[in-house]
Amino acid sequence: MSDTREFVPRITAFVCNWCTYAGADLAGTTRLAYPATVRIIRVPCSGRIDPVFLIKAFEKGADGIIVSGCHPGDCHYSSGNYYARRRWSIFPKLLEFIGIEPERLTFTWVSASEARKWADVVAEATERVKSVGPLAHFAPLAAAAPEGEGAL
């Protein structure tokens, strides 16, 4: 990316199937425009999201990450999002430790009816990530990594 162009963040979103994915669908159905900065990975429940997914996403070039599920009390699987909540309340400390700005991680709840909130979450996350700039952290690591597919 040349310096003259405006920095466009790359945000990977991990969202649950029942609330946030459906909320993002509703944003589409109601034609709510938001920045084209986000790529969504659908999982059944926010409790399914392994912290390593996030580290891996940063490593693979994401400048920011959104994690979103059903509101507390509304989990489709009754309690999965509580596991998520505990995990993401601790996770920023790990990010800080490895030198990634907390602004890069947005953890939130978006219900299936909160289309407007989803559009706002993406717009706000985009602005926050813009304020800290591109994540160059993992580029040397990625360059040194052996070829081939594979997780972990």
Binding site: A24, I40, R48, K60, G61, H76, A112, S113, A119, A151
Partner: protein, 659 residues
């Protein structure tokens, strides 16, 4: 070798307007493993599906990515198309380039780039997909209906008539719901009780229906076909088996001044009571907060006069659990507390009432015996002002929605008032008259033309008392002037709202609700009675304001949907289930403790001689719902979730590295 087919849909102009479909096809063709990439105007159409099926056969495809709408919309369609061509349906992935892309982005380059990324992610995922087969589970052939209003009754009767057992749970002592409170109903003016009570009795006497009144659902475990409901039966203090409903206790009870909720507090009831004379079951309960025996250990008269010894002061609430295959939620609505309308004088002036109070006055079995009166002095009102949209269509009060029924019942009220008080004058302040329904517009015209109701288009600013009259100050926006109407009675058409406790019940049942607390349908147009939780259906006004015909129709629709589950002996479920790797599981127990469904159990691995080798965790596939909480928690990475396994997710993350 992977041979993936990528099919990009134009969705007419819906996708093609903002996404350069040709570019997406070209990019997809370059992706590793992609054998075929093409596009079509409507993939979901019959020719579109046939094209996919033919391509699968001709190219012996090992995976399919359809770049089109949300998986919630057409994943099933394309899975079926794949299966018809011999490809395992779980080797199909949807790339959502409509809801998540073309509909929310305006810049064509950005939208096209994003669509390419989404397709790349799904191609990467489909390469990791494995053929799966659906899980078969047995079905409990019994339905639970929550709420005994007209839609719940209709749902219960429809299911019971098909020969399936139903338990109808109602939180009040009698079934009937709001409809039992109404006087006459629009647009036919037939008496509500006359058409409702036969249905109530039919429900009570039906051999396949078990009524559980004065009871509430406390917990719902399990999943479609195999729910377990915990139901709390409140203490009635009257043994329903012994009680004959003779009513001797009601006559003798000395506590006679408890405000009757059924009569909207316009009349009194006794401490031992039935909500209304036609109650079903027609057996009283004791209001523990008002009863002298239960509060002060005095009185005890009802016990003395009861000829069958049915009074049980030591009765206690009981909790039972029952198995069900499907659940219908028909919990209905409340009306907005009129206390919100200080400017209209509700609570300050006795002659400002709600529509539901007016309805009780107008009912022949109501507290005034069908006479319309001024509550302050019992006189016949010479003029009445009806104020529409009290809380509805009101952004400022947080309810921009239309309550749907008020225009019609107000026309009815104005009409019935004229029928009872021939020289009286009804005024209606309205925003718009919404009379979209069979014979509805004609009905409103009749109120205006035959029964001379005067409609004033505009809002009311406030109501105050002057002399013996209420002065209603408002504006007539058609004449463009301020108006002032002197009235004896003011009736507020308060907004229809979700039931108090609707959100708590939604959380108990695990269904979604909107920002107001109305329950959400899984699709507002095409799946109007289904919730996001399989096997749980919606009937009546719990999902939106509904009139009686709509409530009845949705009750019958919900019953039909429930029967489609209950009519099969087994049910096929998505194979999105967790599996344990026996070789690496160290039996730490994290997953067993975390599973919300208790689907993971200890399993003893033994050699052929029967000697114990080790204990591991094992997932019961027919119970697992596929949330994946166990997968993220497993420290030895020994559990994975079919359809959303680690490799599938990491492959998508990997695919974004080129972004």
């Amino acid at each position: 070798m992977a041979r993936i087919g990528v099919f990009v849909c134009h969705c007419g102009e819906n996708i093609a307007r903002t996404v350069d479909v040709k570019k997406v096809v070209d990019a997809a063709a370059q992706l590793p493993g992609v054998a075929v990439a093409s596009d079509y105007r409507y993939m979901c159409s019959e020719p579109g599906q046939r094209m996919i099926a033919d391509t699968i056969r001709e190219n012996r495809l090992t995976g399919l990515v359809v770049a089109a709408c949300s998986p919630q919309m057409h994943e099933k369609t394309f899975r079926r198309a794949a299966a018809s061509a011999g490809l395992n349906p779980y080797l199909v992935e949807m790339a959502n380039i409509r809801e998540h892309c073309s509909w929310v982005h305006e810049n064509r380059d950005e939208a096209t780039a994003k669509a390419i990324d989404i397709v790349s992610m799904m191609v990467a995922k489909v390469r990791q997909d494995e053929p799966l087969s659906s899980v078969k589970v047995p079905v409990t052939c019994r339905a639970l209906v929550i709420g005994g209003g007209i839609s719940g009754i209709e749902a219960a009767l429809s299911i019971a008539d098909s020969g399936v057992e139903v338990v109808l749970v109602e939180k009040e002592p009698s079934i009937g719901g709001h409809m039992a409170q109404l006087g006459e109903t629009f647009p036919t003016l037939d008496c509500s009780q006359c058409i409702l009570t036969p249905k109530m009795v039919e429900a009570a006497q039906h051999p396949n229906i078990r009524l559980m009144t004065y009871a509430e659902v406390e917990k719902l475990d399990g999943f479609v076909g195999n729910f377990k409901a915990t139901i709390r039966r409140k203490a009635r203090y009257v043994d329903a088996d012994l009680c004959t409903g003779c009513g001797a206790c009601l006559e003798k009870c000395p506590v006679k001044k408890v405000p009757s909720a059924f009569d909207e507090n316009l009349g009194p009831r006794t401490a031992i009571y039935r909500p209304f004379p036609q109650a079903v079951p027609n057996k009283p309960v004791i209001d523990a907060a008002a009863c002298l025996k239960l509060t002060k250990d005095a009185c005890g008269i009802c016990s003395k006069v009861c000829p069958t010894g049915a009074i049980k002061y030591d009765d206690a609430a009981s909790v039972i659990t029952e198995d069900f295959g499907a659940v219908i939620v028909a919990t209905g609505y409340d009306v907005l507390a009129a206390a919100e309308f200080g400017e209209y004088g509700y609570g300050k002036y006795a002659d400002v009432v709600t529509s539901l109070q007016f309805e009780r006055m107008e009912s022949a079995s109501g507290p005034t015996g069908g006479k319309i009166i001024r509550p302050s002095d019992g006189a016949e009102p010479r003029s009445i002002v009806f104020i529409q949209c009290c809380g509805s269509r009101d952004e400022a009060r947080g309810r921009p929605y239309c309550s749907k029924i008020c225009c019609m019942y107000t026309a009815k009220h104005a009409m019935l008032y004229k029928h009872k008080v021939h020289d009286g004058q009804a005024y209606v302040f309205y925003i718009d008259v919404r009379a979209g329904g069979k014979n509805y517009e004609e009905f409103v015209r009749r109120a205006v033309e035959k029964d001379s109701a005067l409609y004033l288009r505009g809002r009311v600013s406030h109501v105050y008392r002057e002399g013996g009259k209420l002065v209603v100050k408002g504006v007539d926006t058609l004449a463009g002037e301020a108006v002032e109407v002197k009235a004896d009675l003011v009736v507020l058409a308060t907004a229809v709202t979700p039931r108090a406790g609707a959100v708590a019940l939604a959380q108990t049942l695990g269904i979604s609700y909107d920002t107001y607390g109305f329950y959400s349908e899984v699709h507002p147009k095409l799946r109007p009675v289904e919730t996001s939780k399989a096997g749980v259906y919606l009937a009546g006004a719990c999902s939106a304001p509904r009139d009686i015909p709509d409530a009845v129709a949705s009750g019958a629709a919900a019953a039909a949907k429930a029967l489609s589950i209950l009519s099969a002996e087994t049910l096929e479920r998505e194979p999105t289930v967790a599996r344990v790797n026996d070789a690496t599981c160290v039996h730490c127990g994290n997953c067993i403790a975390a599973c919300p469904y208790d689907a993971i159990e200890d399993f003893e691995v033994r050699d052929r001689a029967g000697n114990l080798i080790k204990v591991i965790a094992r997932v019961n596939e027919s119970v697992c719902q596929g949330c994946g909480v166990c997968v993220a928690l497993c420290r030895s990475k020994s559990i994975d979730l079919a359809g959303f396994n680690d490799r599938q997710i990491y492959s998508q993350i990997d695919a974004l590295s080129a972004w």
